[in-house]
């Protein structure tokens, strides 16, 4: 195990250590100390993550590939003859994700120390301070474990652990019913998604024979080429024959269902707004930066197992989610709910981006979003704390003078999420780069973009150019790694078992030769890539429209909270800031502004080829032309230039619109919302599109109805049977008691006693007590004897 893996594993286990220690000694450590303890654990993990990041960043791609291929694996168990391996997946994506999680977690832990000192030990003293940090540490461990896991099985284990921690933390104030209800809702909805996830996992294990991410992808690619395995099997699903590509698509959709639940996509998005019942640091950490990102991370990891149809499904779900939730966010008045719906919308963007194939852009969006959303949530936490637990923006206003740090860091976050920047340059924050790129890829995939790029470009591109070599046959990455590793390695790597058929002659330097070794026509691969369906136009326009809506509602919430005149004097007077709580804000703001573009994006770009297997199933960036761009999977400039006038100034339009409507407070907005048509939509949006009502009616009441039916069955059928059996037994025992006991045994005993009594009575009759009778008997007996002797002598 190289030192990268060691550091990653140590970094993962440190929060576990602090969890265990806090479980046993947290009570004794008490109020601020248990918090600092947890912070120390995560802090060291953060330092390790930074070292790994710095080290990894300095390696060139070949060294990275080598380290990746030789990453630590051991056989944890085996089912029959199929081994289940566990190990560390060493990858640029892992390294960055690990860094992001530890960094954001660390600063949120620091924030929590100050925030929770005022927000714990509630009514009955149960929401204890140390309990919070115990769960936070467990969560840290689970999330990091999820990130570094190399096997889908262990990813699922940590997936569930993360869900469990989310339940604990959302329901932290468990003595309040709405909080514990929210925790249950989150867990149950998550579980629904996990059902599909398990389905997908089982299919992966059945058809691909392994749950290791790399091996599964290799096997999938092989099966596609050979038309075997999942592509060659037919199963019978409730009467439908499912086979081939459809079966593979089903597998991909199954795996995606987990992400629908965890990342709160339509239709399982209902748990996230309710999860705001948890303390604000929880909302910041779990429901903005990390846990909900786990779903996106999963899709990114299993990207190679998704067929074009599955990806289309992913994109559609993402698109619906981002639209729906952005519209709901416009009318929310609770500051945390606005941020929750904003998170849902941005997650929708990420999933949409993955679905259309913008792997790098979607994950880049994930990283920047983690930073600025955590910062926005922490800022809202400051606001809520400072306004003494007031969460409605209708009661806030003019807070900029009282909470300047919060106000301006919040504004940086608003700029980032809105995608503010200067078009046609690279100057911009967060969403300016990432959202833009997602939209660019989407634009390319629609029929707006001239399609002649693909075949011509590929036919023209020299195949032994390093970049397109990476691009054209992604499996060469493994081939190169294996070929590099194979000669001189005495020990068999677990990935090699059964994969010998993938061995590419080490001297296959051209894609042609590589493809020839596979026995597949290179052009057929490309044909599939270019023939990937074009996206319908609405899938491009909806995200664009929402790119205008996002700045609108963010500016709305910022303006109404911090600018203008205070709407509630009482709240305004007491507003204040706490120092321990705004340092993290500043750090995260800096991270948002600067670190993302220059460090993360290139690393993500370097991870992309191996992670996406670009040509095999997905024909995303088939239009990449320049060699320099191919490895980075960036868009040609032409696309960006065409896109700029459409979305480049969206943030300006959104900001101005929000300013116009809300500059004098909520009066104008309330008037607008009363107008006839708009009023109708406003009502629907305030009711969150009636999802909760429908779900309550269908699922909750449905389950209760089913339970009622079962109870009827229990009472009238099962109980009937048992009562009948009991009655029969009782009757029978009464009968046998009567016959055997009363009549039989008792009869005998009583009969004996009776006869004895009668005998006694009879025997006692001579005992008259009268002397005369005794004399009579004596004389009579004497006479009889004498007579007897007389007669006897005579005879």
């Amino acid at each position: 195990m190289s030192w990268y893996e060691q550091f990653l594993v140590i970094g993962t286990l440190l929060p576990l250590v602090s969890f265990v220690l806090l479980v046993f000694f947290g009570h004794r450590l008490g109020k601020p100390n248990s918090g600092w303890f947890a912070v120390a654990g995560m802090g060291i993990s953060c330092v390790l993550a930074t070292i790994v990041l710095a080290g990894w960043h300095g390696l060139d791609p070949a060294e990275q590939a080598e380290l990746q291929a030789g990453a630590y694996r051991f056989e944890w168990a085996s089912m029959g003859d199929m081994p289940i391996t566990l190990g560390v997946k060493l990858d640029s994506l892992t390294v960055i994700m690990f860094f992001m999680v530890t960094f954001v977690s660390f600063w949120i832990f620091v924030f929590s120390i100050g925030y929770m000192s005022g927000h714990s030990d509630e009514i009955d003293g149960q929401s204890k301070y140390h309990r919070f940090f115990t769960f936070l540490s467990l969560f840290g461990f689970s999330m990091l474990g999820l990130t570094v896991s190399s096997s889908l099985l262990f990813l699922f284990v940590f997936w569930e652990l993360v869900g469990l921690c989310s339940y604990f933390l959302i329901g932290f104030y468990f003595d309040k019913k709405f909080a514990s209800d929210a925790g249950i809702k989150a867990f149950v909805v998550n579980r629904v998604g996990d059902f599909g996830f398990l389905f997908g996992l089982m299919m992966v294990f059945t058809f691909l024979g392994t749950l290791d991410l790399d091996q599964a992808a290799r096997e999938f690619a092989f099966q596609y080429e050979a038309g075997s395995g999942v592509f060659g099997t037919t199963i019978n699903l409730f009467g439908w024959e499912v086979s081939g590509m459809t079966l593979a698509t089903l597998m991909g959709i199954g795996l995606f269902c987990g992400a629908i639940g965890k990342s709160a996509q339509f239709p399982l998005h209902v748990w996230l707004p309710d999860a705001m019942a948890g303390p604000t640091p929880v909302s910041a950490l779990i429901h903005a930066a990390t846990m909900v990102a786990a779903g996106v991370y999963l899709v990114a990891r299993v990207f190679r197992l998704l067929t074009p149809d599955a990806q289309l499904f992913v994109a559609v779900i993402g698109c619906i989610t981002l639209t729906m939730t952005a519209l709901i966010a416009i009318v929310q008045t609770d500051i945390k709910k606005v941020l929750a719906y904003s998170t849902l919308s941005q997650l929708g963007y990420m999933i949409f981006g993955l679905g259309v194939g913008a792997w790098v852009a979607a994950l880049f969006h994930l990283m920047t979003h983690a930073f600025f959303k955590a910062m926005l949530f922490l800022g809202s936490g400051q606001v809520i704390e400072g306004c003494h637990h007031e969460q409605e923006i209708t009661k806030m206003g003019g807070l900029r003078k009282k909470m300047p740090f919060t106000c301006w860091t919040f504004f940086v976050g608003v700029l980032a999420i809105a995608g503010a920047g200067i078009p046609w340059t690279s100057l911009g924050l967060g969403g300016f780069h990432s959202k833009d790129e997602i939209l660019a890829v989407a634009l390319q995939r629609t029929d707006y973009w001239p399609p002649e790029g693909v075949e011509a470009h590929h036919a023209a591109a020299p195949v032994d150019d390093g970049a397109s070599y990476l691009l054209v046959s992604g499996s060469n990455q493994e081939g190169g790694g294996q070929a590099h590793g194979q000669p001189g390695h005495g020990e068999a790597q677990p990935g090699d078992q059964g994969q010998a058929r993938h061995a590419i002659p080490p001297d296959a330097h051209t894609a042609d030769q590589a493809a020839g070794a596979h026995g597949v026509d290179q052009h057929s691969l490309l044909a599939l890539a270019s023939g990937t369906k074009k996206l319908p136009r609405w899938m491009f326009w909806l995200p664009v429209i929402i790119a205008y809506v996002t700045p609108f509602y963010m500016m709305r919430v910022w303006w109404l909270t911090f600018m203008g005149k205070p709407r509630d004097e009482h709240v305004y007077e007491h507003a204040h800031e706490m120092k321990l709580m705004y340092v993290p804000l500043i750090v995260l703001a800096v991270g948002t502004a600067f670190a993302s573009y220059w460090i993360f994006r290139p690393m993500l770009a370097s991870a992309a080829p191996a992670a996406t297997d670009a040509t095999l199933i997905v024909g995303i960036d088939g239009h990449a032309t320049d060699a320099g761009h191919a490895a980075g999977l960036m868009m040609p400039h032409a696309v960006h230039s065409n896109l700029a006038p459409i979305v480049g100034f969206a943030f300006v339009v959104g900001f101005v619109a929000a300013w116009l409507i809300y500059r004098n407070g909520l009066a104008l907005a309330t008037q607008i919302s009363r107008m006839p048509v708009i009023g109708f939509f406003h009502r629907i949006l305030v009711q969150k599109l009636y999802f909760d009502h429908v779900y309550n009616f269908v699922w909750v009441r449905g389950c209760q109805g089913f339970a009622w039916l079962c109870r009827l069955f229990d009472t009238y059928v099962i109980d009937l049977f048992f009562n009948l059996a009991a009655k029969i037994t009782e009757r029978f025992s009464a009968f046998s008691g009567w016959i055997l006991d009363a009549e039989g045994v008792d009869g005998v005993v009583n009969g004996v006693a009776d006869s004895m009594l009668k005998l006694g009575d009879t025997v006692r009759r001579p005992q008259t007590g009268r002397i005369r009778n005794y004399v009579l008997f004596a004389a009579g007996s004497a006479a009889v004897i004498l007579l007897g002797i007389l007669i006897g002598v005579r005879l």
């Binding site: 007590g769 009268r770 005369r772 004399v775 004389a779």
Partner: protein, 104 residues
């Protein structure tokens, strides 16, 4: 004159004996029962003397035994009267049918 032999004495003794037993059997009076006992003993005496006169050869055994019986009868009568006295003390009556406390 009929010759009076042994049999006549035996018959008389038998009659007296049976009378005495009959009195013992039927009398409710305690003293009456004692009278019956006396009758029986006297019958025995008659028998003894009769057999001593007619069947023995000059021995006096019969007459001696009769003397014993008379003495014993007297002693026994004394004891019996003591018993009757006690009987009367306990039960305030000499009706022996009242003394059936030993009834089973």
């Amino acid at each position: 004159m009929t010759f009076i032999g042994l049999n006549h004495y035996l018959v008389v003794a038998a009659i007296v004996f049976v009378a005495g037993v009959f009195v013992m059997m039927t009398k409710r009076n305690a003293i009456g029962i004692l009278i019956g006992v006396e009758l029986v003993l006297n019958a025995v005496n008659i028998n003894l003397v009769a057999f001593g006169r007619y069947h023995s050869t000059g021995s006096v055994d019969g007459r001696i035994l009769a003397l014993f019986v008379i003495v014993l009868a007297a002693a026994e009568a004394a004891v019996a009267v003591a018993i009757c006295t006690n009987f009367y003390k306990n039960l305030a009556t000499i009706d022996v049918d009242r003394g059936d406390a030993a009834k089973g």
